[in-house]
Subunit: 399 residues, 4 copies
């Protein structure tokens, strides 16, 4: 097992860190201010400026392991870069490396037809449009994908889609143009072949954003987590991805890298929180003593460092295995990091919040990062489902 | 030690529960909708209707141990009632039992002059106006009250107030008329006699709401947690409470009951979350199995029940001691519940959220209740400060 | 709910505490030394001396709620006394209040015939003989009592017993004269009526102690936890308790008080550990600082105090309910304390050990008390079984 | 960062595993039986047989990074081998890789004179004699090495040693011939130059084993953890190691590898416990359900797997850094694993115990492995001291 990066990947790291320091961190407050000024519904201009600069700096599409279309880095190479991006909530989009667009781009890259790629992958890779992935439904436990109830019915040269989805992230973004939708094409097929995935342009009649769901109290503007109604939505049959009944297979293929990227970013979020915590401890005193000299806080710093180190190594191992034996071979490791990392990040950020006093709940970006870490204990499968995967594989050794 | 309630208190309980079931729970969604319709800046009409009905039903001011002005219940008697109110975020205000108004009313009742009572306590008890308590400051660790830096300077028949406060809850409420402000009257006095408290009518020139602070993204409208600037705010000298240098003493007197009420309500919040969790488990299935049959979730139900039971008993003991030996004698117990209860509530609510899937972060009121439990690990003193109080008293036994 | 003790119970407490201070604590080392001198197989003489003095002091059989035969205290009254005894591993036996003898005495008192009482209960109450309870078997998960496989076969005027038991505490005691044995009389009866309980005098042919089981290396001499073989053991039919098929019912009746007594003692064990911890912290320095000034240790003191307080209140509630509505009505509360208390005690004692350095593992009695707390997470039913009881009763509320 | 092993190390692994399976695991019960038969004071013959076979198989002294004297493996290479040995409590000695002998051999190899090496290192490497390290003292907090109070006084061509030590592991072994002793040569020197280390042959007059300390109730025979009295013990001046005042420096040099080896072995102990747990779950049923189907136990299997994976990776990183930048450069990582790994192992083993029912406390080797994991939270420095090291280094980044 080796976590050595390729020379190319190593070269990216200092450039990315320099860009973060010079451009991204200073823009965080600007972004928030602009977003507020836009009534939290438009795209803050600073984001488009940053994207342009990142593209020009060659720090663009680092996530895609295709050397023609993008940086062509493998998972292990991408891990430290993705971690650095995870330090700022606005960074991933700056580098066109934000969820769910990355997962959607990978999906199109892997499973899309040439036409689908030309029409949707190309502008996505260019950062010109945004996309969303419609899977979770309000009425069923969607952690079990076989519960998905929406329908995709063939009708001549078209498919007609009906159903209700929620927590469709990005659908609220002004530039969101394309949805990847999961639903049932055949309720009578074997359980894992009932689902299909299909492309729905955002402006298709019958597509409706019902409301934006708050995450804790955060609106996650402008991307939003939307509840959506699909009523007799009609799209050409060629919009189907890979073929009828292959929705489950595609979901699996999409979620592997998606989960690992989330985890890489969470390492970065935890690192940033720990840095904020240490700086705060150095800067504040209470009861006549620097916070940096309070034993319980020092212990929390140590625990945080130990938890981050362990979690990062496990993410690297998962990335190394993804590269080596593919998502299927790395299934246990991906399940593990999906449980370990968001829980770890939430704990680390929580400690950092507490050290910041009441301001920890409103300032410094900590509460938002915490909420996001907490949400990832649910998104792409709740803890319990991934832990069960780990348990099953462990117990199988002793059949 | 006896947790037997008086007959009067026992009589209140079913009436309160019936009112909650008939009036309050059904109004929760109405309240939210009306608040949104008001642009989250006005008072939802349903709140004033509920207050009128509660008053009429004799379920009003149950918190105040003064039989002339209010229900006259002691802490132990009030505990189960306060718990029931804590089940709904909108309930305490319905019964005029919400923080920080209760704490402020108690403060005026205990330490106010007749004039101060007539002017401010009376309309507060009538539920006609709201109040806020200005203590925490952004620039210092306010968990150590001696750090408070704002100034209250005597100038003839007046005091002139300058400083910056934040997390001033209720100051954003349209009916907030009066602020209780803590600041230094004498920086050269012994450390615990430097502070004083003074009444500042909301409309006094120089009082400014700078912004409303989000709590995990929640705006807590209409009450708000405000950052406030006080610039040469001038009030009559008679607005001073109790006397110069007695601010610390008042703060102590205010915080005892304040903390215990918070904890009582948190027990109710945890109970409601557990109820929601159990109901959800009965209603949902995943992977071919009712959630109510999933072993790990059942274990979480059991852990939650055990944690709630223990925490409630400790709250009752603290209340019993408050009644028996006063806030000072109950100091260790109050410190204990202040650490134990919000942590417990946050854990229980977190489990309930997870069982609700992604909706746990946006629907069912769970995310908000969690945020509030989390905030209480900081408000009125962070965990670490109260734990230190407990440690000090324990170690002192072996001097 | 009232935890007020009767005047009689209140009178016992200072007398018991005085006896502990004057007689029991100073005898702990003596007991260990004498036991070692006896090759860990005889009864240390100091124990018989202490028993005689306790009897004379009227501190005897405090556990039995029968005012004719014993102190006649109810559970709530007994709780603080039992807690105090739990502070020393040798104390319960001094007052004839040690497990499993107390459980066995209660069983005989409740379910025994006059002859059984005369023959066995009388000398047990006098502290002249010891007894054991044979339930757990090595080959099955005995947490589920229906798994018990040993057989009790009727043969004319006798029963013939065969089977293997282990973790039979007290069987190794030189004065152990009587065993209460659980086994199947009818494998074809409904599941909860297959088991019976029967009295087996220790000297009956076919009764064999195979070996003594160590508990984390401790031999628990002289009582021992024995693995026992029963081969064609023949006893008169009149030795059967209550009737064929009632073994399960008796087990339930025995375990209620047994569990609550264990928990009361664990509170005492935790209190003693916390006291040792605090004293040690005051006495030692490291890195130029008194341990009493180390923040993390102070926090552990506080956490321990908070955990003990909560657990004790829950035990009191369970005792109050046992007195009020019986073991069945208090089923949830007993299940709760059975999970909560030993876990709490193990945590508190573990912290105390760590503060004592390497000596914490060998001196001060801490390692032994820890082992015993840990064992109680299994004895009389593992955590998981009791938690499941709590979960079942909680979820049932929402059927 | 690469965890790739050299080809030589990779070749050892299957051979070691085969030897464990064929020779060591089957001998565990034999060893215990023979030890009991010897009254727990002699060396079980099976151990000498196994040592001979291991030597012959070339699985000998794998720990020492010296290719002339031993296998010459670096830390990273040794890690997986050491882990495998850690699976059995008797294995490390079989391969001459047991603490504290390995640490003592390394110390002599690094700091010993030619004469010291010839006299003591040679027979130690041959497995002919055993050794002990005398550091911890009963009267002071020895976690702070500057507290050590024993004296080493120069007297002509000799040194005279006085003091009391305890927890001197191995001193009870019949073949223990040599002690490495830490004490003060100059109480007036700067704090870190007061201590020296000196070789004391076991048979020197004035060396006395006062008693053997139990670890929990385990006697750890035949090696023992001894309390020792040193009274006017006189040894030649040439027995001093490295020079006066260099005891602290030597201790640091010794503890680095010592700690990492302990941690490697603990990973193995945890793996074995998890294997036992899974096998038990497959083999047992309770309440009509295989333990392997109980959700909470499955979750514990998953948690255990996730914790082991993370801890192992951190150990590998520490080993890799030791090889790359030395013990000083790897200081933070060594401190981290010293906290993380024994805590993890104790948790994993504790879960395995609970699944084994009461037998978990006496059979299967689990209770012993747990006790050892617990002891390692203290040995070579308590958790708190290592966590403080991590905190200090983390906070230093933000000076």
């Amino acid at each position: 097992m080796s976590f050595e990066l390729t020379e190319r990947a190593r070269a990216y790291l200092p450039r990315l860190e320099a860009f973060m320091a010079a451009e991204v961190y200073p823009a965080e407050d600007v972004y928030t201010r602009q977003l507020d000024e836009l009534g939290r519904r438009g795209v803050p201009p600073v984001m488009e400026e940053l994207k342009a600069r990142a593209k020009k700096a060659g720090l663009w599409n680092l996530f895609l392991p295709d050397a023609t279309l993008a940086a062509g880095l493998h998972n292990l190479d991408y891990a430290p870069l993705c971690e650095v991006m995870g330090r700022s909530p606005i960074a991933p989009e700056v580098f066109n490396c934000n969820a769910p667009d990355t997962g959607n781009m990978e999906l199109l890259w892997k499973y899309g037809t040439d036409l689908q790629k030309e029409t949707w992958l190309k502008p996505l890779l260019a950062g010109e449009i945004r996309s969303a992935f419609c899977m979770t439904e309000p009425d069923v436990a969607s952690s079990d994908a076989t519960n998905v109830r929406s329908t995709i019915r063939r009708d001549g040269d078209h498919y007609v889609i009906n159903g209700r989805k929620w927590w469709t992230t990005n659908a609220g973004h002004p530039d969101c143009r394309i949805l990847i939708f999961m639903g049932k094409t055949d309720a009578n097929a074997p359980v894992h072949q009932q689902q299909s995935q299909i492309l729905i342009p955002m402006d298709t009649p019958g597509v409706e954003i019902v409301r934006r769901l708050p995450l804790f109290g955060f609106d996650d503007a402008p991307h939003g987590h939307c509840e959506m109604q699909f009523t007799d939505v009609r799209v050409p049959a060629e919009n189907l991805i890979l073929g009828e009944g292959r929705g489950f297979e595609i979901a699996q293929g999409r979620l592997g890298p998606g989960r690992i990227h989330h985890c890489m970013r969470q390492i970065g979020a935890a690192e940033r929180a720990l840095e904020l915590m240490c700086r705060r401890m150095r800067a504040r005193s209470a009861f006549g003593k620097s916070l940096a000299d309070q034993g319980t806080l020092r212990d929390e710093v140590a625990q945080s460092r130990m938890e981050i180190e362990q979690a990062r190594l496990l993410v690297l191992k998962a990335a190394w295995m993804m590269d080596k034996v593919g998502a299927k071979g790395a299934r246990a490791e991906i399940a593990m990091i999906k449980v370990v990392v968001p829980n770890m990040a939430a704990r680390v950020i929580d400690r950092a919040m507490q050290v910041h006093g009441a301001g920890g709940f409103s300032e410094f970006g900590l509460a938002y990062q915490w909420a996001w870490a907490r949400a990832l204990r649910m998104a792409d499968g709740p803890d319990a489902v991934h832990a069960e995967t780990v348990a099953k594989m462990e117990l199988r050794k002793y059949n």
